[in-house]
Symmetry: C2
Subunit: 255 residues, 2 copies
């Protein structure tokens, strides 16, 4: 229901991209995995070549096709890339896999932001933040501990949600809090006392950690979160290429 809404989303090149994506994954173009020429596609869809190129740029960024000057595009595979909302919302993600998402609020406190939090959320000294600790489950089994810091504008809304609310991002969107960009950092960390208590593991046992800072369309940070997953429950995958690279590897700094 909400899926069809953002699938083609108005613009012409997105519709073309969605159609081509489906044609690729359904196994058309089996002819040695070669796509029709841009000009042929343009005529077929009744659009200009520029529009087709915009659509193909989307597919290339997703790792579905290559592109080289001089020869036709080649189908790489049916790399399944999730939508942005599916990535930010644990609830949305779980449901798309057919699992039942759950959440248990452990604590929600309001206190002055420390130096790191002020920098991440771009807050003035002395500003208060809302810090939330929540256990996340898939079909009843504990999977992840979520430690999220909200700036006041967002935290006030989250604090008013019922404690047993499964999804927080959906109500936030209805209150006009929009998510637009996110920076993720992935590494390994040992479980602290809270993690061990909530996940039922030993202190110091390894967890896959995803740190995430999300901003709205104006560039204002709306959340800073640390999600700690039990090993063996999830993995993250990324596609990148010479044409577009959003991934980076770096020496791990403090914290």
């Amino acid at each position: 229901m909400a899926l069809d809404q953002d699938r083609a989303a108005g613009s012409l090149y997105r519709k073309v991209a969605a159609d081509l994506r489906e044609a690729i994954t359904s196994g058309s173009f089996g002819d040695a995995g070669r796509l029709p020429a841009e000009g042929a596609l343009a005529e077929q869809y009744g659009v200009s070549r520029g529009t087709v190129r915009q659509a193909l740029a989307l597919l290339r960024a997703d790792g579905l096709v290559t592109s080289r000057r001089g020869t036709r595009r080649v189908v790489l595979g049916s790399a399944r890339v999730q939508s942005f909302s599916e990535l930010l919302s644990f609830t949305h993600w779980a449901r798309s896999m057919g699992e039942e998402p759950g959440g248990r609020l452990d604590s929600m406190v309001r206190r002055p932001a420390d130096a790191a939090e002020r920098e991440q959320l771009r807050l003035e000294p002395g500003t208060e933040v809302y810090v939330m600790l929540r256990l996340r489950t898939l079909s009843g089994t504990p999977v992840m501990v979520e430690r999220t810091v909200y700036p006041p504008r967002v935290g006030e809304l989250v604090a008013q949600l019922p404690p047993d609310a499964v999804s927080h991002t959906e109500p936030l969107r209805e209150h006009g809090i929009l998510f637009s960009d996110a920076d993720h950092t992935i590494d390994v960390v040992g479980a602290n006392a809270d993690d061990a208590r909530l996940l039922g593991c030993r202190r110091g046992s390894p967890l896959l950690r995803e740190k995430r800072r999300t901003t709205d369309p104006t560039g204002t940070p709306v959340e800073w979160s640390q999600d700690r997953y039990l090993p063996g429950t999830v993995a993250f995958s990324i596609h990148n290429s010479l044409a577009s690279s959003a991934l980076s590897r770096h020496a791990r700094e403090n914290d």
Copy 2:
């Protein structure tokens, strides 16, 4: 030296993008973090608005700027995204940080590919592959174990390299093996006997694992690698947005 070569790389919009990237990170546009209008930039650089938009699309994909209809672009930050080659080559990456990369070949065997390897490298049944196990060090300290599977065409070249060669990707490039696209999967895994022996950790102790399949511009796989990092040495970061999302989270399947 090799850096300047791919920085602007011929095309006009890449030069504009490189110039804007530098202007942003050097702190121009301090005026509330607002970029000049597309039209103004087009006139300033003496190019068309379409070319400016191509350049800005690169910056948006890197997470440097936002973009919303109706208002000027906003500077998000100086997100440091590494070049593609810096990401694939441990040697290149280490040197860009000012560290001394090292490598010690542990084993290099040639044997028939198993089912998983055939699927990853798209090989016919019975084809032989080259399997390499190598310890990687930064300034002398062990950091990562690299387990790479090469198809015959590539493996024959790697096997002829001297055992103490630090970089493998650079000689490969000179032999015409080009890297174009890569799929990465990141999770946590316990050290096996080889990992423990080479890294000096205990068996079963957690490692940050990056599985990577790289293809050339024609879509043919050229390597399938598993890199296992000691915790606390590296982290991976990704930027994504509503406009372009190449990251995905998924339930961890077998192996």
